[in-house]
């Protein structure tokens, strides 16, 4: 029974750390599928986390926090769009810029407003998205096998976590079953064809980056208003880049992106849980190796040694109408 509990705890932790990765990866999916590379996921998530935590702290409302987080993330997404769609600037450069602006301004404003060394005040329980106990979770606990899985693993996450996992089928549906999704994918592969059909490439790409902004805002909210009780300097700590890695690992598809995020989340949870413990057969795995594994796996995948990750064809290229 002990082993079962251990495994359940491990999977539970996996889900928790995967949620922000998943939201950020899906965010990147919309943008990159439309042909706008976005390495500014990290920055948007950080800005969202800060806006969410400070608004929730001031107003005492988690929902207003979420609104502010989404608004500020969308704003940064639009800056990225303005630079890379309207002014045909380099999308990578723009993403790098947004990461820095977010990293610097969250600390400066946090210090100026709250004077706690870049932190925001600790949120009380009412100002956070708390764990939801699903119906029957307590009554079913005693049922063998299914009970603990339902009550420990499925139940007891915050609202945003459920939204994140529901976003996976929703994104799949939007991308592959709606007209908007078809056009979004087309504009990432062959914008000239979309233009010829009389559809505005720029407007379509702007809508895609807005979707990205909304989802990174949710990811930031989860970090600062649900998983933690407030914002801490640099709290995204590279999660935006792991999400990007997961997105590439999933070859820009929503359902595999979920599994990639769960895999990377599992590595993280595993590294924390078994830090410094010698495993049978393998011996003591250095925690740094576990932390680097998502990045190493992505490099290997990108190099085409396990399958081939082919990005959207028009990704990273600004569209020039008359050519």
């Amino acid at each position: 029974m002990d082993v079962v509990n251990l495994v359940l705890q491990l999977f539970d932790a996996t889900i928790r750390v995967s949620v922000p990765l998943l939201l950020a990866a899906l965010a990147g999916l919309y943008s990159e599928r439309s042909g706008v590379f976005d390495i500014g996921l990290e920055g948007k998530m950080l800005a969202g986390a800060f806006a969410g935590a400070s608004t929730a702290a001031v107003t005492g409302s988690a929902w207003l926090g979420m609104l502010a987080a989404v608004a500020i993330s969308v704003f940064f997404a639009l800056v990225h769009g303005f630079a890379s769609i309207t002014h045909r600037g380099n999308q990578i450069v723009s993403g790098v810029a947004i990461n820095f602006i977010a990293a610097g301004s969250t600390v400066i404003l946090g210090q100026a407003w709250f004077s706690q060394g870049g932190r925001t005040p600790s949120l009380v329980a009412d100002a956070r998205f708390n764990a939801i106990t699903l119906p029957f979770a307590d009554t079913l606990r005693e049922v063998p096998l299914v009970g603990p899985i339902y009550s420990e693993l499925v139940s007891g996450h915050s609202l945003i976590a459920y939204v994140a996992f529901l976003m996976v089928p929703f994104t799949w549906w939007v991308l592959f079953r709606t007209r908007f999704g078809l056009r979004l994918r087309a504009v990432g592969e062959n914008p000239a064809a979309v233009d010829t059909a009389g559809i505005s490439v720029a407007w379509l790409r702007y809508r895609a980056v807005i979707c990205t902004g909304v989802l990174t805002g949710l990811a930031g909210t989860y970090l600062a208003v649900s998983q933690n009780a407030g914002f801490v300097k640099d709290m995204t700590a590279g999660k935006g880049f792991i999400a990007l890695a997961a997105l590439i690992f999933a070859k820009w598809r929503p359902v595999p992106a979920m599994f990639a995020c769960l895999l990377f989340g599992f590595l993280d949870a595993f590294a924390i849980r078994f830090q410094g413990i010698a495993l049978p057969m393998i011996g003591k795995v250095p925690v740094q190796l576990m932390q680097a594994l998502p990045y190493i796996l992505t490099v290997i995948l990108l190099a085409g040694f396990i399958g081939k990750a082919i990005p959207p064809k028009a990704g990273g290229v600004a569209y020039v109408k008359e050519r």
């Binding site: 390495i39 380099n90 723009s94 947004i98 400066i108 740094q288 990045y295």
Partner: protein, 380 residues
Amino acid sequence: MSAPYAKLPAWADFGLIPLINLIVAFLVAGLVVLLVGESPIEAAGLLLKGAFGSGSGIGYTLYYATSFIFTGLAVAVAFHCGLFNIGGEGQAYVGGLGVALVCLTFDGLLPWWLNFLLAIAGCAAIGAIWAMIPGWLQAKRGSHIVITTIMFNFIAASLMVYLLVGALKPPGSMAPQTRTFLPDAHLPKLNWLIEMFGFSVRSTPLNLSFILALVMAVVVWALIWRTKLGYEIRTMGFSPKAARYAGIKEARIIVITMAISGALAGMMALNPVMGDQHRLQLDFVTGAGFVGIAVALMGRSHPAGIVPAAILFGMLYQGGAEISFVMPHISRDMIVIIQGLVILFAGALEHMFRPAVQAAFASLSPRAVGIDAEAKGEGA
């Protein structure tokens, strides 16, 4: 494409437009200072005073600038080949390993100048290898260099933590750092250089690697504009198709360019590790690799622009410390914002003000602008 950007005189193209972009970046930064409730003009005054008001201030400014010259040159060399090396941070970090291995092995055995030469070779070699792998993967396996170099930054960070809490840490010590190098593995300070200009200097970390950085700037200039390899690199960056047609081996040039870029980034480690701290510590790069991106963009990838841009950022780093004494709300993170704004306006939005400038020029003297068909190839 029908001339989206008509031709401007060279001084406007390489002087006026970058200057406008830079001014806008600083104006927006000033807005942030206002938002925090301080006076931007007062902050700018403090910044200048902190950076250039005293001999020590100048020493620190140039010390920071040294690191940024190396990383700026690294990014610029890759830019010339059309590659975006975002991994300067990681390459500099592992470069520190090269410096430390040389210093830990040979201090107490060799004179400082031999240690210096060996350390240059060590950090350049490790930095080059760390950049060559993404280069090779891009050239041979088609993986995107931006993504791979980002991943290599994280891998470098994990690797260095692993080494610094393990093999490199002296037994019995708790701090994640190597032992302090013996004095013959310290670089000579350059305080006399500042004293030459009539300032009194107590102690600054400015060291010999500043001279090396200036030498490397000249070397990079000569390499890019005066050698066959440089010509091939620029051809690749301008048009990979033309390069292929001309018989230039694409893969070879990419790998070599990345190796040079990584070597330059790796050399950055000399400045803090051998010049100032005299031991290898966690996170000694502190973002200098990323500042290199802003420096290269601001300096338009030319050494003559990179050196002043690096000094400007050195000034921001040193002056920023001064500001935070007087204005507690403005910490050094202000520089991260400025860095981001410079990258945004001088990089991603570099063409934003071009139409307006062109309109102004056209209304002044239509003929001088040559509005008709002189399309420059840089629009796309």
